[in-house]
């Protein structure tokens, strides 16, 4: 706990964030370049799906990130409710729009992939539906954040919502799976780690690293921006009260 609170001091955090930020950006730029190059040129086209399978290198990391971001939000919310760690709440708030964007990206690329492969933009398949619900949960969180004038209240209310939603995510996932198998047999492309060839797995993993580094970078930008905005507000208040 002591280690966690060492970085509760925003000044110390800002210093650390300033150190990490360029590295995160560098990792993102390098791995995205390498990953995209491999995805387009060295990875083979799928023998059945042809060139369109290459959208996988964006689609799969984006889907991973959508779940990851919601988990970060829920964990940060729990930390902010239990230990009242001041940065936890800032990071949860900063994560929400990034998570929503990744979820939307996963849905959009999936839909673009689905048109040539399944012959339709959208199927009420279990996985699609549960990701769509995840997008709604992200949006609900952001809406609740924005609905209060008092920022402390907004933070607390949305932290509770994030936790309730987190309990519900597995339930939704499982109920949707069940519903789907009852009505139409699944026609999803299955991808288990062992069945994918290294020539496709490597670009995928590198792209996953790129996405994660991008997340870290944007998260730090947003968190620093918010802390600076806080400082500006306090200075303004001081000015008003002082003069």
């Amino acid at each position: 706990m002591a280690d966690l609170h060492r970085f509760a001091n925003p000044t110390r955090f800002l210093k650390l964030a300033g150190l990490i930020q360029p590295w995160a950006l560098a990792v993102f730029l390098i791995s995205a370049t390498v990953g995209l190059y491999m995805a387009f040129f060295t990875a083979p086209a799928d023998y059945q799906q042809g060139e369109s399978a290459r959208i996988m290198y964006v689609h799969v990391p984006a889907s991973w990130m959508s779940m990851f971001c919601y988990t970060v939000m829920a964990v940060a919310s729990a930390v902010s409710l239990i230990w009242k760690h001041p940065l936890a709440d800032v990071s949860a708030r900063a994560t929400a729009p990034i998570g929503a964007a990744f979820t939307f990206l996963a849905l959009a690329t999936g839909s673009l992939w689905g048109k040539p492969m399944w012959g339709t933009w959208w199927v009420w398949d279990a996985r699609l539906t549960s990701v769509l619900v995840l997008l709604f949960l992200h949006i609900g969180y952001m809406a609740l954040q924005g609905a209060f004038d008092d920022r402390v209240r907004a933070a607390k209310a949305s932290a509770i919502l994030a936790l309730v939603g987190f309990v519900n995510v597995p339930i939704i996932k499982f109920s949707v799976d069940w519903w789907n198998t009852l009505h139409q047999p699944a026609s999803v492309v299955k991808m288990s780690g062992s069945s994918i060839h290294p020539s496709m797995l490597w670009p995928l993993l590198i792209m996953a690293i790129a996405f994660k580094a991008y997340y870290v970078w944007v998260l730090l930008v947003r968190m620093r921006q918010e802390l600076v905005a806080n400082k500006v507000r306090i200075l303004r208040l001081k000015q008003v009260h002082g003069g």
Binding site: F148, R153, I160, I172, V176
Partner: protein, 221 residues
């Protein structure tokens, strides 16, 4: 326990004295369902096919409509603060308010549902299961909704916000509620769906009062 019963009675008498309030929910339920035959056309086979889904979706929406008032009036006139200060744990208070909410909205919906099922040309095999599924499902709707109702206290645009928060969490109840009724009509197994609905009820009974009370506490700070 005595305080719990008292609180439920208080909320019920408040609801009954306001008269039309709880009736309004049922009226909305009926109108929402009646829109469907007008929208999709009156062919009996089409209506029968969608009947269970339409009734469940309408029940979801009407249960949600009344949620906004669950804590709002008590929050505005200050009685919520008194309730929070009383010896009764806030979790039990939430449970009592949810019970009253279910009696004034969930129960009338269940009474109205068979009539609507007839209007929607549902096969008669589904009636009993529809009622059982609603009996098991609507309490979960009230419980989950209470968390949302507590979180939006004092916010701007509470009503619209509430639907955005609560509806995604209602999806599992909808899925299993509809598939139980469809199973009964089609002659399949439906016990599992009913058991899962019961499981949702027990699970939300155990968890949502805590979340709801946490929501109320931060609203009252």
């Amino acid at each position: 326990m005595k305080q719990f019963a008292f609180l439920v009675r208080r909320d019920l008498s408040l609801a009954f004295r306001q008269g039309m309030d709880s009736m309004m929910v049922v009226v909305f339920f009926v109108i929402a369902v009646v829109l469907f035959p007008l929208g999709v056309g009156p062919e009996p086979s089409t209506l029968a096919r969608i009947s269970s889904g339409v009734i469940w979706v309408a029940a979801l929406l009407s249960a949600m409509l009344s949620l906004e008032r669950l804590f709002q009036t008590d929050y505005e006139d200050g009685s919520l603060e008194l309730l929070a200060l009383s010896s009764l744990p806030l979790e039990v208070t939430v449970l009592a308010k949810v019970t009253a909410h279910w009696i004034t909205t969930g129960l009338p919906l269940i009474v109205a549902a068979p009539v609507l099922a007839v209007l929607m040309q549902m096969e008669s095999e589904g009636f009993l299961i529809l009622i059982v599924a609603l009996l098991l499902g609507t309490p979960s709707l009230s419980l989950i909704g209470a968390v949302g109702a507590a979180l939006i206290l004092g916010s701007r645009r509470g009503g619209v916000l509430l639907s955005l928060l609560v509806l995604p969490l209602y999806i599992p109840v909808l899925i299993f509620g509809v598939s139980a009724v469809d199973g009964a009509i089609g002659g399949y197994e439906f016990k599992a769906q009913l058991l899962i609905l019961g499981g949702f009820f027990i699970g939300s009974l155990a968890l949502t009062p805590w979340a709801g009370a946490a929501g109320l506490r931060q609203a009252l700070e």
